[in-house]
Symmetry: C2
């Protein structure tokens, strides 16, 4: 698929899994002219150069964003405010400023805090990723068929802003994604249940399993094919990114965690009292959800996620 050029110069600040994937696909599809990579890590910068992922690579944010008509912040959510502050004075008038953070409320505030008036700040979140990190982990097809949620500023009603939002949506569609516009608060609740709570639960069960008396860590790993191994994937995600998410989306996470815990207590009682029919009802109901996820193109229909492919 070819798409016309949408931005002349894109600066990506934070060139990890997501940032480097945006750069790869944007170049492949020709939706941007020039790509500037900004990363604080010297090791990352060396890899970006070696992989030839950008037209220019720098560790200096102001230098990197100068002259860019699209700036994508792809750093951990608690680092967004500082990155924006470092960029602010160098931003080109009329530039579109977006991000890829998994929390939108606190990030929208952090970006707004130091943004000049003459740019368009449009927070965003591509719901895509893997458990790996760094510029080597990215790949061009990461966003293919996935959703990108944009959370534009409700307070800005000028047509130029609406135009900038439409342009950013075209950019993401050009990268293979589907685009949805959403209210910041609703985004943070939706993601708390579809992403943040799943990660919290996965981190927790892996922690519990590795500390359990009577079962060694070796046994847990050896016999993990009965289900446990699934959880180890997201529990292997970047620790800094996820620490920041739980701090930044505390309220919504605690809300859905409260609901999860209530439901788990009810399930615990059903097991204790042998209420087999109630268990069967829940286990039947949950089957339908996976069919829906597959039907919406968000999951492989192959058994075991296709991880046994080649085996049969």
């Amino acid at each position: 698929m070819t798409t016309g050029r949408i931005y002349e110069r894109m600066a990506v600040v934070g060139f990890g899994l997501i940032g480097s994937s945006v750069a790869r696909i944007a170049r492949e599809r020709g939706v941007v002219g020039e790509i500037i990579a900004v990363d604080a890590s010297e090791k990352h910068r060396e890899r970006i150069e070696a992989l030839g992922l950008a037209d220019r690579v720098t560790g200096d944010i102001a230098e990197g964003v100068a002259g860019a008509d699209l700036v994508v912040f792809a750093v951990p959510v608690l680092a967004m405010g500082e990155a924006m502050a470092a960029a602010a004075a160098a931003l080109a008038p009329g530039a579109t400023i977006t991000d890829v953070g998994s929390v939108k409320g606190s990030v929208a505030e952090a970006l707004a805090a130091s943004a000049p008036d003459n740019v368009f700040v449009i927070p965003g979140h591509p719901i895509a990723g893997t458990e790996n990190s760094g510029p080597d982990a990215g790949f061009a097809e990461l966003f293919d068929g996935r959703w990108v949620i944009l959370t534009p500023d409700d307070g800005r009603e000028d047509p130029a802003y609406a135009e900038a939002v439409a342009k950013l949506a075209s950019f993401w569609r050009g990268c293979g994604a589907q685009v949805e516009v959403m209210d910041v608060k609703h985004h943070d609740l939706v993601l708390a249940i579809t992403s943040h709570l799943p990660h919290l639960i996965a981190y927790n069960i892996v922690g519990t399993a590795s500390d359990l008396e009577g079962v060694t860590e070796g046994e847990v790993m050896k016999y993990s094919a009965g289900g446990f191994r699934d959880f180890t994937r997201i529990a292997a995600s970047d620790p800094t990114m996820w620490r920041d998410i739980f701090v930044a989306n505390k309220e919504a996470v605690l809300e859905v965690l409260g609901r999860f815990t209530e439901d788990l207590q009810a399930l615990s009682r059903q097991i204790r009292w042998g209420e087999a029919d109630k268990l069967h009802d829940l286990f039947t109901r949950t089957r339908a959800i996976r069919r829906g996820v597959i039907a919406l193109g968000q999951e492989s229909a192959e058994p075991n996620f296709g991880r046994d492919r080649g085996k049969h």
Copy 2:
């Protein structure tokens, strides 16, 4: 790989995902002479015939197990006792009787209850599976590199029994699996943390997500690629099989669930009070577990379980 014939006639009672996979690999590797399929479902029996998975297909347990030197019970764990009772009078003297149930304490008791004295009862559990069910879901490579745990009767010290255990272990190795012998009680605790609790948590979070006020089921499915979709896989497992497991392994499941809940409460407090360092410590520690699971050959090293293979 070729293996010599180990049993002359294998009867598999319950020809679903696991039962049909045992039959497929046993025939492929030539470790059994003849295969008799026993299944209570007429629909299943038709599929077994159509797929040509057995030498003979019957709905009658006694008829099916007659003359077999290996009987494999592959029905839901709470159905094991009844299946064994139906088979007992027809079992050939000296036959080895095993099962593939995910709980061993209650199954060992259920099998022993009606077993004649002149057979060798050796409960077993292959730690392998997918979220799919039925004879069509099975495949020959399911056990490849996976662990099979045998829990022989501690009380039987006769050399003939030890020989029967060794022979059954050879059978499973011939099917591509690795074999471990374990105490019944320890098995049930190990599996409670590596398989039963993960399923319980997955069923629970899918239930919570589909009932959450303020977020529609459609949104949950649409934006599931941020982590939630992983959980939908095991929450799509067979409802009857899993209802039985939680009833049959109640004590161990409630024990590990108690530990999980304690840890989750601690994590909840850390989020509430913004104890970012403690979160980061846990998230760093859990990364190592996945590396161990992969190193032990129990998981794909590819990002996202390899579900995006072909994409990059």
